[in-house]
């Protein structure tokens, strides 16, 4: 493991808060992570999971109670925020209202007394990178939200830090702008070769933009992996439910053969999946994504396993149909059917039996993990 490749290493970080209402809260409970250079890594989790706290501990606005943070091999213990080699893009941008765009962006250079000529050049360069050429003289309040966000970005990257922290920078933007900015950020990261630690609660963002995703909940890391890994093979129920839609059933393994297994759910339904090392009698949870269930039509493959239930609801959402099917009257099965199968969907009747098939590769077995 080459030391030079690791930009930041966090070891067993613990951060506690004491609040008057609820006593001591552990915001981070033994979090360990290492980020490589030129990597786009996303911290994903619901509000209160500790991701913002984690970011603030790295940037130096909060101190760890236990554990260590190394940036480029150097321990950050006792080093105040303004001396750390990281920069942050704040959620509300935190642009200095009394300074022009040029003075905002060039702030870190002005503090260090960089020569006027060099400073102006670098400001112009970085504004060009974020498509804001010529805006030097404007004041923050004269800019739109999207423009302000890019100024915040420019201000943070002008120093070419090895690591950039972004705290939900897109959350204040409207939907279309958000989509556009996602791509821009990703491109920027590639161009600059800087590592990005990106915090968000939006799983779409995480899946689209990241090289790796760190899923956090309750101060613990639930899973670290590339997006496809997180999506296809969540290690526990939380991750499975937090990312994408899922159907999760509890059951017991009733037979294993040829590398496949069959699970009997608590609701009596049996499903088959690839055996991931379980034996008969073990209890496990099976997850299958709604889009992996195929509507059985005349031309379906008969060799695929099937599952049936009563159709309860069909909702059209433009791109897909969302179906709710009741199995054994107790459990609900969510199914997503593409618009391309509109014909078949139109022939469905509510309250009647409906059957789906699925490929054996698609169900994922969750052996209990940390919650």
């Amino acid at each position: 493991m080459a030391e030079t490749n690791q930009i930041i290493e966090v070891k067993a970080a613990v951060r506690r808060f004491s609040t008057p209402e609820m006593g001591v809260i552990t915001a981070l409970d033994g979090v360990s992570l290492s980020v490589q250079s030129n990597e786009f890594i996303t911290l994903l989790g619901p509000s209160g999971c500790g991701k913002t706290t984690f970011l603030r501990c790295i940037s130096g606005f909060e101190e760890l109670d236990e554990g260590q943070i190394f940036i480029d091999g150097v321990s950050m213990k006792g080093i105040p925020a303004h001396k750390r080699p990281v920069n942050t893009v704040f959620q509300n941008y935190a642009l200095f209202p009394h300074l022009s765009i040029s003075n905002n962006v060039g702030y870190s250079l002005d503090i260090r007394g960089v020569s006027k000529k060099e400073r102006n050049q670098r400001v112009a360069d970085v504004l060009d990178m974020v498509d804001l050429t010529g805006m030097e003289r404007r004041m923050p309040h004269q800019l739109s939200g999207g423009q302000q966000q890019r100024v915040a970005l420019a201000r943070a990257i002008i120093n070419r830090p090895k690591l950039l922290l972004l705290d939900e920078p897109l959350s204040a933007l409207d939907h279309n702008l958000r989509q556009a900015m996602r791509l821009e950020l990703k491109n920027l990261q590639h161009r600059l070769g800087i590592s990005f630690i990106f915090v968000t609660h939006d799983q779409d963002e995480a899946l689209t933009m990241s090289d790796r995703i760190v899923v956090l909940n309750g101060g613990h890391i639930q899973q670290i992996g590339v997006p496809t890994e997180i999506y296809d093979h969540p290690v526990n129920r939380f991750v499975a439910e937090f990312i994408g839609e899922s159907n999760i059933f509890k059951g017991t393994v009733c037979s294993t053969e040829n590398g496949f297994l069959e699970i009997e759910m608590d609701n009596g339904i049996r499903m088959k999946a690839i055996n991931q090392g379980l034996s008969v009698g073990q209890s496990a949870e099976l997850m299958i994504r709604p889009e992996h269930l195929q509507l059985v039509t005349d031309i379906s493959r008969p060799d695929l396993p099937q599952i049936s239930g009563i159709l309860k609801q069909v909702v059209f959402v433009g791109v897909d149909y969302h179906l709710i099917v009741h199995l054994n009257d107790k459990t609900a099965l969510k199914v997503i059917v593409r618009d391309s199968e509109r014909q078949a969907v139109n022939n469905l009747q509510l309250g009647k039996k409906i059957t789906f098939s699925y490929s054996l590769k698609t169900p994922h077995i969750i052996t209990s993990g940390l919650q």
């Binding site: 303004h82 942050t88 642009l95």
Partner: protein, 275 residues
């Protein structure tokens, strides 16, 4: 609501009367400062600027305005008041601002205590504070004079500045200071480049407030001035106790105008909001 209209007119009338009540006395002083009648101030004789001339040290034009006391005392009192006010303002603005920053940007256990400490001097009746200071000075052998007055004024003016600056600080985004640190500025640079510019209207407003209150203070100053020093309010109070002289109008008018101008500036700065 038909009741509305009659009610509205009455309310408007009341508003007019209210402002009349407040400003008529002040206006009277101003108007009658131009009356040349030296014996009965309310009976109008001639328009004259003589009273102003006399108190400012010029010679008079009409025969009426000859019975005026020496202006040296007056000018000395003005000088003393101004000096005291300026030093008091400087000191209390510094302290008040420092305290405001401490309370608004730091987390610490004694915070509530300090908030109360700032609050107490303002609710204390001035007479109590005045005599307490008098006892203190005499008891410790501190000479009564300009310095004792300055110290006395500061004890409660720090609180005034504190409140004005606090309000301003509270309205300021804390993240801006974090952003500054993130970009490499230490606390002092952050204060100089980010915090101070943004709270400056509050600081200036607080300073002007302190200045004018110091200039106008009577009760506390009365107790701790001693025999040698005299401030303008003290001078006027003494004159009023001895008997009303016509030139008091002119002096009072000038004080009035001065106070109103400075106060207007103070209020202007205090209400300046950042977008």
């Amino acid at each position: 609501m038909q009741k509305g209209n009659a009610g509205k007119r009455i309310l408007n009338l009341y508003g007019g009367l209210f402002f009349l009540f407040i400003y008529l006395p002040i206006a009277l002083i101003f108007i009658y400062s131009f009356n040349s009648n030296p014996t009965n101030m309310m009976v109008w004789r001639n328009f004259t600027l003589d009273w102003y001339r006399k108190i400012l040290g010029f010679s008079v034009l009409t025969r009426d305005a000859i019975y005026v006391e020496s202006t040296d005392q007056l000018i000395a009192a003005v000088k003393t008041s101004l000096t005291i006010a300026m030093i008091t303002t400087a000191f209390s603005t510094l302290m008040g601002t420092a305290t405001a920053i401490a309370i608004n940007r730091f987390r610490f256990r004694l915070k509530k205590f300090y908030q109360m400490l700032m609050f107490v001097p303002m609710i204390m009746p001035d007479i109590v504070l005045g005599i307490a200071l008098l006892i203190f000075y005499v008891g410790f052998g501190i000479k009564l004079g300009a310095l004792s007055i300055i110290i006395g004024h500061c004890t409660f003016l720090i609180s005034y500045v504190f409140i004005v600056v606090s309000t301003r600080l509270a309205g300021m985004d804390k993240r801006l200071e974090e952003a500054s640190a993130d970009l490499g500025a230490n606390e002092w640079v952050t204060f100089r480049r980010v915090v101070l510019p943004l709270i400056m209207p509050g600081v200036v407003g607080g300073a002007l407030l302190a200045f004018i209150i110091s200039m106008d203070d009577l009760v506390i100053t009365l107790f701790i001035a001693g025999v040698d020093s005299q401030t303008l309010p003290l001078y006027i109070y003494g004159m009023l106790r001895r008997g009303i002289k016509p030139e008091i109008n002119a002096i009072a008018s000038l004080m009035l105008i001065f106070s109103l101008v400075v106060a207007s500036l103070g209020i202007y700065f205090r209400s300046k909001q950042s977008k």
